[in-house]
Subunit: 348 residues, 2 copies
DNA sequence: GTTAGCACTCTTGTCAGATGAGTGCTAAAG
DNA sequence: CTTTAGCACTCATCTGACAAGAGTGCTAAC
């Protein structure tokens, strides 16, 4: 598609997108010739603009307004015209400064990363820590709450902690629980939760034939503890910053946007999609297939440690977002977070 | 103050407040005589309304609009005129039905309670679980993440779980950690976290003289784990429902409201205040001393188990909220939650 | 191919006038 | 002395008209 446009059209499209990003208003032919130094008259620009509109890259809200880029126009801009500026050394250092998370637990780190993303970009920051299922089992502990209620705590290799209350059939005392947890810790060490589940399932089928009471109890407990899916965790920061932008100034759009942020479901789906890919991903407007997020773009990237992908983070803002600024921020942040997590893994 | 008004004035004030709650529009003298069966002409009603305005209970947005209740007017209505309807048996049963939380951990319960509150009231639901400091210590566990990084998990008597990553000076192996946790569990059992902190502080002062290495390690670890304040947790549900109401229809007010909800700080302060009191509390409008929550009211109540207050929950809505409906919901919900928590405590 | 010129379209803002809801006051009725 | 009908007055809201301004598309000239 990049080849369909000659140089002049590209220049003009770029100018329009940039001006629209800057001013959030339809941009007209005269405005462009003024602000950018083409040696062209407004009339010539108009001709090009008409072509671009025919190609579906621009549209005009009404006859006598300027043009605004369509979704396709933004897409083209991002794919072919956008030059992502690199972060200056100073900015990199500033970012690194904010990422001193040693001694914080996973949840708090993620919350904080979201806040930083939102603060830097002036849009909403998202961080997702995905389903526990994809993490590697490290340790399980039992805390006896009452005679048949147990608190199960399991820890992943990356330091993620999940806890859950389960009811037991038998009343197990602390000595027994300790034995069970020792047994399980030894038995399940190094497996992903998904693998753990499979293993448990397999063994459960043979359970009838088990004479070893310890093993039997252990099996039952761990099944109860790990059986159901734990939901993805999503941290959202700075949703209210979105409301500052003129495209969401109507009460109706505000409501929709806030609802979308509140339900979190849609955001999770989007981030989940980016999970599969490498590097920075950009979802524009209705790609999200969600009415409530119409007019929004998401810039996301995965973070991981040496053992593989852990989660995704990103920034969500109006389609008219300052991509050249936000993309490197998201990119570098994902790298930094990955590094932080790696460092922690290294220590073990 | 209740005595300052004669019966007629009270009736009229009540009618105005009710109509304003129902229609969210200034109510005029004619409208009142139509909707309510006083045997009075609009003119008479007008006289009374003028008096009520002089007393600061009503105000008019402009000369030719009807009157709306002031904050003071709402206050008077709630203090003296409001008749809280009781929940029907059916409603009680429905509520109880939704409160089957057995086997859920504290956090999830609270999240769910918030959702239910918001769903029933059609306003925003709040649940606060207060600082860990006020809870009773039950158990501490250590999980070794790497050679000098430990995950500390501590559990309160009510089943609250907190975890934290700490750096240790010495490299402790699992055997040592087990001894330490056994020691601490025995030593600190039954104390509130505040008491635990005091005790640790006292013992730390004598630390120099300690020859017992175990004790020394235990002290250091528990200090690192418990030293800093854990923040109150606040669960907010249905904030977007607030945006449906006409008083927040202007973009500006929406922004402010969402900001207030996002920061959570103000909400926490408000709920904290209600912590000290018994029964249902009502904060009206600018009582909250917060511009962003102008025009809002909070109805809150504490919940507790036999060992004392645990947290607070409530509903936040426009000042023009349907108090007679929401108050019993909040009240009964607090009772139900308390009962659920008691039941769990009973089992131990 | 480029551009100046011009007619045309459509939004925005303003202003006047009409409408209607609601008030406050006064004077008459109960 | 209380109540109420009547009336003048205020003020927000709606309407239509009109002007201004921004921007376009087309055409003809360069």
């Amino acid at each position: 598609m990049a080849d369909q446009l000659n140089e002049r059209s590209q220049h003009i499209l770029e100018a329009i997108v940039k001006d629209y990003i800057a001013f959030a208003e339809p941009v007209g032919s005269r405005a462009i010739t003024k602000r950018h130094q083409f040696n062209l008259s407004p009339a010539s620009v108009r001709n090009v603009m008409a072509d671009l509109e025919d190609m579906g890259l621009l549209c005009s809200p009404h006859t006598s307004a300027g043009r605004i880029p369509t979704e396709k126009g933004f897409q083209y801009y991002i794919d072919s015209l956008l030059q992502v500026r690199n972060l200056t050394e100073k900015e990199r250092r500033q970012l690194q400064e904010s990422y001193r998370f040693s001694g914080m637990k996973m949840e708090d780190i993620m919350q904080e990363v979201g806040r930083i993303l939102s603060g830097l970009s002036k849009y909403a920051g998202l961080v997702m820590v995905p389903k526990f299922a994809t993490t590697v089992f490290r340790q399980i502990e039992f805390v006896r709450l009452s005679h048949r209620r147990l608190l199960v705590i399991y820890v992943s290799e990356t330091g993620l902690v999940q806890n859950k209350i389960i009811q037991t059939e038998a009343d197990l005392d602390n000595r027994q629980l300790e034995k069970i947890s020792n047994f399980l810790n030894h038995e399940l060490n190094g497996l992903t939760i998904t693998q753990v589940r499979e293993k448990l399932k397999k063994e459960m089928q043979q359970e009838m034939s088990l004479y070893d009471q310890l093993r039997k109890n252990a099996l039952q407990l761990s099944c109860a503890a790990l059986q159901d899916e734990v939901e993805d965790q999503l941290f959202v920061s700075g949703a209210s910053l979105m409301l500052e932008h003129p495209e969401f100034s109507s009460p109706d759009q505000m409501r929709r946007l806030i609802q979308a942020f509140e339900s979190k479901k849609i955001l999770l789906e989007l981030l989940d999609r980016s999970q599969s890919a490498q590097g920075v991903q950009i979802f524009i407007g209705s790609e999200s297939e969600c009415v409530d997020l119409q007019g929004c773009s998401l810039i996301s990237a995965n973070f991981s440690n040496k053992k593989g992908a852990i989660g995704a983070l990103g920034v969500i803002g109006p389609m008219r977002m300052d991509y050249s600024q936000v993309i490197p921020i998201v990119d570098f942040t994902a790298q930094l977070v990955s590094r932080v997590l790696d460092d922690e893994a290294d220590q073990s």
